[in-house]
């Protein structure tokens, strides 16, 4: 098997991973960054057929100049924390990567909640539609509804307007009063207030609904209309697409597989220098709790500096990172999901899209784990990435852990992986 060795291995080339890679490479470390996307930037700085956003340019330039090596299209499938080894898959097959330290900057994924019709083509994630549009998915001239929750909705809606889409509405589930109090708390953060004002200006003329969520998506082979409930009142809209996401979930599967402990909120637990409880494994950005891009950059620099042994630099970043983390927690409270969303799925609504498990089969079962054992919920190719956080919200209890490999592999690849693990164990025990 191909083997790549380095001082620091960074998983994920979004803001946190880029910052960590820069910080370590600039301190003389040999850095390798693995990312499953076609290019650097993660979701927020994704390029594709579009130029990356302006805020990304200095970071992408610094990254290119840092000497860190990026492997795009390369997805980690399994890890061995004791041997500081990760196995990954790219277009040519499996490879083994080894390092003295590892920074997990695996980002977040969107929270999708089931409601009638959500499996129709044309119902996409909010961040999902933006990611696709940045890689050429057609949005110009399309009538698009944006729904769900969180600051991402406004950002996505504004981006869609700028790119020629007709945004039919932005439906936020949180009540206006709660969000107004949150906005007022930004009074001492003029940059954040200015960002909010700019988004609202771009969205002038677009109906912005609060205490509003999708009740049903209609259409035969593709969505053609959506019904919302706004303050309990039904409202219908004709749409070409619905972009819907209910917030972000930290991507912790690799961290969990490596034995990293999670905190009470389900994020990777880290200390003031971004160390997890597993020796020489760090985590930065969204896996440690949803905090946004500034938080991710600070945590990334901190993790990179501390992995490179620069405790002084790490200390200066730590204070700013703590402030950014507080903002993340305030966001979370402002956009907390309301109870009524648990009533969205009806009996016939699919909760597991891979195995087509319907809500009537899953509703009465105790936990996400029990549901998986009884109904195959979460046993398809996505391995529960979509349904487990939804079940966690709908039923409570911990989401079931993903087991290795982290991606579907061929039997040949599984055999190759098992053989290489054995080889590595022999090599390291000698």
């Amino acid at each position: 098997m191909r083997e790549l060795a380095c001082d620091l291995l960074v998983v994920g080339a979004g803001p946190a991973g880029i910052a960590a890679a820069c910080a370590a490479a600039e301190r003389g470390k040999k850095v390798l960054v693995l990312d499953e996307n076609p290019g650097a930037g993660g979701q927020i700085w994704r390029a594709g057929t579009h130029a990356p956003p302006r805020a990304a340019e200095p970071w992408l330039a610094r990254f290119r100049a840092s000497g860190a090596e990026l492997r795009s299209g390369c997805a980690v499938v399994e890890g061995d924390a004791a041997r500081q080894t990760l196995w990954a898959q790219d277009a040519e097959g499996l490879l083994r990567t080894r390092a003295e330290s590892i920074v997990l900057a695996t980002g977040a994924r969107e929270l999708f909640l089931p409601f009638p019709g959500w499996t129709l083509p044309g119902v996409l994630g909010a961040g999902g539609l933006q990611a696709l549009a940045k890689s050429g998915w057609p949005v110009r001239g399309k009538k698009i509804g944006v729904a769900g929750s969180g600051p991402l909705l406004l950002a996505v809606a504004a981006w869609l307007v700028e790119h020629g889409a007709h945004v039919a509405f932005v439906a936020e589930q949180a009540p206006l009063g709660r969000l107004a109090r949150f906005a007022a708390s930004l009074a001492f953060q003029p940059r954040k207030l200015a960002q909010l004002a700019a988004l609202r200006w771009k969205l002038r003329g677009v109906p912005q609904l609060f205490s509003s969520w999708p009740v049903r998506a209609n259409g035969r082979a593709h969505i053609d209309s959506v019904e919302l409930a706004t303050d309990g009142e039904p409202q219908g809209f004709l749409v070409d697409a619905l972009a819907v996401g209910f917030g972000l979930v930290p991507e912790t599967a690799l961290a969990e597989q490596l034995g990293c402990a999670l905190d009470a909120s389900g994020a990777v637990a880290v200390d003031a220098e971004q160390r997890t409880n597993v020796e020489r494994i760090y985590a930065a950005g969204e896996p440690t709790g949803i905090g946004g891009v500034e938080n991710a950059l600070l945590q990334g620099e901190l993790a990179g500096a501390s992995a490179a042994g620069d405790a002084r630099a790490a200390h200066t970043f730590a204070r700013r990172a703590a402030r950014a983390r507080r903002f993340g927690r305030a966001l979370e409270r402002a956009f907390a999901l309301r109870e009524e969303l648990r009533e969205m799925p009806d009996d016939d609504t699919i909760v597991c899209r891979c195995e087509d498990v319907r809500w009537d089969a899953a509703r009465e079962l105790d936990s996400a784990r029990e549901t998986k054992l009884q109904t195959r919920c979460g046993m398809g190719p996505c391995q529960g990435r979509v349904c487990q956080p939804a079940l966690h919200f709908l039923k409570g209890g911990r989401a079931d852990r993903r087991r290795p490999p982290l991606l579907p592999l061929t039997l040949g690849e599984l055999a190759e992986l098992a053989a290489d693990r054995t080889t590595l164990e022999h090599e390291t025990s000698r």
Binding site: E36, N37, P38, Q43, A47, G48, T49, G73, A75, R109, E110, F112, T119, L120, P121, G122, V123, L124, G125, G127, G128, L129, Q130, A131, L132, A133, S135, G136, W137, P138, R140, G141, A221, H222, I350, R353, C354, E355, D356, G380, P381, C382, R385, V386, P408
Partner: protein, 96 residues
Amino acid sequence: MGDAAHAHAHGEHDAGHCTIWLDGERRRAPIGASVAAALALHGWRGTRTSVSGEPRSALCGMGICFECRVAIDGVPLRRACLVTVREGMEVSTHHA
């Protein structure tokens, strides 16, 4: 389809596009586009049929949901949202 027609209007010599095969049909796609975007640009509304027979298409756009999985150059289970189009690429939505 407007964008696709626009791409065609640029003709065969447009350096900004490449030629790919979608379910055996020859199509042009913008350089840098994902396979998922190329399928949508050319009017493919679904990328797979679910186990109970429903049409499905991309949901997450970032490699999580596997709804956009297709066969690319004969390799099944490729996530169309994560793969960039390449000259001569063959995409099949029938064997995923």
